[in-house]
Amino acid sequence: MGLLLCPAPTKAQAASATAGAALGAAGGAWLSAAWITAEARRGHYLHRPSDAGFRLALVPAGATVGALLGYRTSDRLWAGVGAGALGAAAGAGTGAVLGLLFDDEPEGVWAGIIIGSAAGLLIGSMIGASRWDSPVPPGATFAFTLPAFR
């Protein structure tokens, strides 16, 4: 018989975890939208909203990651959010232009925005959350450490 004992979260941890869950869910929803859009561009369209199915699993997955990050280190959460937002904005712009290059219909631009911003969001938030307080070796301009190895 074993008993797992966890200390009760502080108020700050609870607030940070709640914010992380909400932001993570929103990010997951956006990644789901990008997944659905990418599939539609390949000919697999939504016939009804429920066709989104398992692609929506990214919403609870995002919420879980966000909540864990907020619970453990709110600094990492906000670094991830900030970098994710920057990445999304850059990705949206890039996606819009690429969408126009590959498809001169408005749908191509919108698809580019959705997919590009989701890619930027994912990459930016991963770098931001990982890089926080990473020591930068002398001579390097960029460094990050995966959380699993910290």
Binding site: A33, T37, Y45, L46, H47, L100, E107
Partner: protein, 382 residues
């Protein structure tokens, strides 16, 4: 830089479209029955108009009876149910708990076209498949739902109600109906197209449409389907109000929207047929839950697109260049073919409160609602 500006312009113009505001118009005079060769009622998205809640089916039945008695000519009156005849997921199997309510939803429409005058003068009740009749899904399950609906309509016809599904379930069409007044109706299953991935079968369907138009021999063409040729409703991908999936719709992800790949392929195919032969005077459809009159812009567009999908639901309409008139009130349309070749449009609607009578005792509401229907718009189409 130019491409970036173009992308910004597309995004800015796609975020929000102003909602349509009704403009004043000059009503067309009501036709004298002796001048009328045929009357076609256009009723779309009537799949949630149960008799005990919907004033519309009662008023429609009154109108059908009145016109059938006035014209006193076989098949001079017809009612085109423009798809989504059974909400929410088509006609389920007899063994399913949903079979009974599904049957009631379908019967309400059969009731509207099976009064004594309608039966005597062989008024036609034509049911065209919509995406919800295909189960609002795709694949074999959807085809089964459509077959169930067709079998139910066949049973009603065997009992004397002049109703049938056209085109036959699972076929694209067009089914051709030549009616009095030199009117040729082409009934086409656009949901079949959206579900089909067989290019050859789609080409064959377009060839059949071309032959039916080319062989019309001077008749007026009315093309009838569930999905509209153009629309200013939510299925256009335009946004007039908050829509949780608006950005996905802008990207053409929903196959039911005009801007999705398969839908655009359908419209391009029809446009090329219309350009080679002759564009129909009227393209009648439902799908968006409103009444709309849209004008074609070129030789490959139908002269008029009529969206009559407001029988049991209501959704907003955006102000677009093509839109001549719209209403979000519950209603249906009536196309009148005159003996002199003229074609008139009358839109019949009632205040929004009569979309559905949900009171514990709905009878007074249904009576008042049926009486509240009136001609909200009219004009000469030719």
């Amino acid at each position: 830089m130019k491409r970036l500006l173009t992308a910004v312009a597309i995004v800015a113009s796609g975020c929000f479209t102003p909602v349509y505001v009704a403009q004043p118009f000059t009503p067309a005079p009501p036709p004298a029955p002796e001048d009328v060769a045929a009357v076609v009622f256009l009723v779309g998205d009537a799949g949630d108009t149960p008799m005990e809640r919907s004033p519309l089916v009662h008023r429609l039945r009154e109108d059908v009876e009145e016109w059938s008695a006035s014209l006193r000519t076989d098949s001079a009156v017809s009612v085109l149910f423009l798809g989504d005849n059974v909400y929410p997921v088509g006609m389920r199997d007899r063994s399913h708990d949903g079979f009974e309510p599904d049957s009631a939803r379908l019967y309400a429409q059969v009731f509207a076209v099976s009064g004594p005058e309608a039966r005597q003068y062989r008024t036609l009740g034509v049911f065209i498949p919509g995406n919800h009749d295909w189960g609002n899904t795709h694949g074999a399950n959807g085809a089964r739902r459509l077959l169930n609906q067709e079998e139910a309509l066949d049973a009603h016809r065997a009992a004397g109600a002049p109703v049938r599904m056209l085109p036959t379930s699972g076929l694209a069409g067009p089914a051709v109906l030549d009616l009095p007044g030199q009117l040729r109706v082409l009934s086409f299953d656009t949901e079949w197209w959206l579900q089909s991935d067989e290019h050859n079968a789609q080409e064959q369907a377009l060839n059949d449409i071309e032959r039916a138009i080319a062989g019309a021999d001077g008749r007026t063409i009315l093309f009838a389907a569930h999905h509209p040729f153009m629309t200013a409703g939510p299925h256009s991908g335009l946004t007039t109000a908050f829509d949780p999936i608006w950005v996905l719709r802008r990207a053409g992800v929903n196959v039911q929207d005009v801007n999705s790949g398969p839908y655009k392929a359908l419209l391009n195919g029809l446009s090329s047929v219309f350009e080679r032969t002759e564009a129909p005077l009227i393209y009648a459809a439902g799908h968006d839950h409103s009444l709309q009159l849209l004008a074609g812009a070129g030789p490959s567009d139908p002269r008029w697109t009529l969206v009559s999908g407001g029988a049991s639901k209501s959704t907003p309409v955006a102000a677009t260049d093509e839109l001549e008139w719209a209403s979000v009130e519950p209603g249906y349309m009536r196309v009148v073919i005159l003996k002199d070749g003229g074609v008139m449009l009358y839109a019949e609607s009632a205040p929004a409160q009569y979309l559905s009578c949900t009171n514990p005792d709905p009878a007074p509401c249904i009576e008042a609602g049926a009486a509240a229907f009136g001609t909200s718009y009219s004009r000469r189409l030719r």
